[in-house]
Assembly symmetry: C2
């Protein structure tokens, strides 16, 4: 369906897609489409990045076996802001911690590139924390910012690019940003060294036509720059997968997903559903199911994620999921009515 | 987004929609859009329609309080095929059983029309079972058939229409039917007395572009007849809500949903997500959450439904969910790998 040639914006010059009939494009695929697993990074927002080495290794091995293109192994954020007595190693991604799991990781040999996310706004001590790419197992730094932090984000991108990394610009919480501000940020981002600009629906609020509006806007902003557009969805309204498909149809070539949708709040686009949909034969579903069954599902005993009703409500109301997360961790996680009443009283 | 005027096919003559700016149609609504709750009917496929009177009454009261337009209270199928020692009253919808719950139900006063579904293929003794509408609490008979049963379905529709019912044609399992057969069935259906023809994705297999293809086809088939197009989605790929939105955008004016998505296998489009999205102020979310919390959620102790991985897999493979239902009821419901291997060996 989407994957293939159906993309509305004509392929950028470097893409030589054979024109497939419009009759059933969904049975073919677009080779440029790359999948990023952010299970450990986004999932780290529900457990302070306290995954065991075994859990991270299981996800790593799975990404390689499944043909996933990128794995985001955590945050490259500052231990001073995220102290090690509370936050696990995947909040800081020190080289020695990563190497304990991935060894000397070879992206050529494995077909997998490793990424970490660095937050703007003082959360990352990026000037000191990020070492030259040639000395790191990391291939990619994804820079996350709120729209007002775009200037620092671009500094970070230039810095990391100079260090030899592939970089991305992830402007968060886009559903609460005015169009004029998005336009301005994209104008700046389009001139940056970032290889990809990602549409980030942090609140899981966006419906189909809004996704269309944004993806078209992002595609237009990067037109002619050689940059890709990405999609990072949250599943508050059970739309993470659907919105990811929609972005793909419109030409997005970088999409994020997580195993069993593990991620903050309602979670993300489920990898197992995404890979079952993509028709590139390099993607393999079985290893993904193996990891879900043996590594991810058991975490449901400890952590809550997924599109339960409190997350539906914050998504519908275009709110940060923090109130729903607190509710789900409280004594009455299934008292939807009280959460509804509280939420309505607040808005 | 969808609801409003965004519908691609121009409104039929009887619709006088004010033309809203295309800039943010998602904040308005289309008054013609009607919502049908099929919690008890589709949910009856996982418990042999053995709901208690209290459960059915809770759903009925909720539909009225929430502004839902139709409630499908069960099947009008034959007790000889579905014996009363196994199947509950909501498989047959005898007048006395329904009246125990809904009294003399007045659709004018409540704003709610009651529907029952009758299956073609000998499952319903429709010639004898269905009494004149003026003597029934039912307002609507929805006729379900497989494509090869279209002739009997049309007979049923004519019969029920003559008895005074509003009728619909629900051709099931459309994802395994050849286009030429769908076209033929729609040509017949368009000439029938059915007020609505429903796109039914029984296997939860259809992706966005396939939904587009089908909804456009159905819209074209009924063009000029005054009939509506409906959407009945299953949630195998977490697309039930997204596909329902898509159908609405394309002009479908009848959509099915269930409380907490209760329904066969992966379940249906969740009413709580749908109503949170529709902008018609007549729809109220709070009573829906009340019923979910107090009536539907407790059923999770007894029954399994929702888009778990076995249902993802049958959806992806375009299979009837029966193997996944059996797996989820078995000893190892979360052994996804074995289910995957079994499923792949079978196809």
């Amino acid at each position: 369906m989407p994957h293939p040639t159906a993309g509305l914006p004509p392929p950028r010059p470097r893409r030589q897609l054979s024109r497939v009939s419009e009759k059933a494009p969904w049975i073919t695929y677009r080779p440029e489409l790359k999948v990023l697993d952010c299970t450990i990074r986004d999932g780290g927002l529900i457990n302070h990045s306290n995954f065991t080495d075994e859990q991270v290794r299981a996800v790593y091995d799975t990404c390689i076996a499944a043909g996933v293109d990128y794995m985001e192994i955590g945050y490259k954020n500052d231990p001073k802001s995220f102290p090690t007595d509370t936050y696990g190693p995947w909040r800081h991604c020190e080289e020695e911690d990563m190497r304990r799991v991935v060894g000397d990781h070879n992206s050529e040999a494995t077909g997998l590139k490793l990424a970490a996310m660095a937050d703007a706004g003082g959360k990352s001590d990026w000037k000191h924390q990020i070492i030259p790419a040639k000395d790191s197992v990391l291939d990619v730094i994804r820079v996350a910012c709120y729209v007002h932090q775009i200037s620092e984000a671009v500094e970070m991108i230039e810095h990391c690019t100079a260090l030899g990394y592939e970089t991305t610009l992830n402007i968060m919480a886009i559903s609460v940003v005015a169009d004029a501000e998005i336009d301005q940020a994209l104008e700046i981002g389009a001139k940056s060294a970032a290889g990809t600009v990602v549409v980030v629906d942090s609140y899981g609020n966006l419906y189909r036509e809004q996704i269309d509006h944004l993806v078209r806007k992002y595609m237009k902003a990067v037109e002619g720059t050689g940059k890709d557009v990405g999609m990072h969805a949250h599943n508050n309204l059970q739309l993470a997968f659907a919105n990811t498909i929609e972005a793909i149809i419109l030409g997005a070539n970088r999409v994020d997903a997580t195993l069993l949708g593990l991620g903050r709040g309602a979670g993300n686009c489920p990898m197992e559903i995404l890979l079952g949909f993509l028709r590139n034969p390099k993607f393999k579903l079985r290893p993904v199911l193996d990891c879900i069954q043996n590594t991810i599902l058991p975490m449901k005993q400890q952590f809550d994620w997924g599109p339960s009703i409190p997350y539906n409500l914050t998504g519908q109301m275009n709110l940060h999921p923090r109130s729903a997360m607190a509710w789900r961790e409280g004594d009455t996680p299934d008292d939807y009515l009280s959460f509804y009443d509280q939420t309505m009283a607040d808005v």
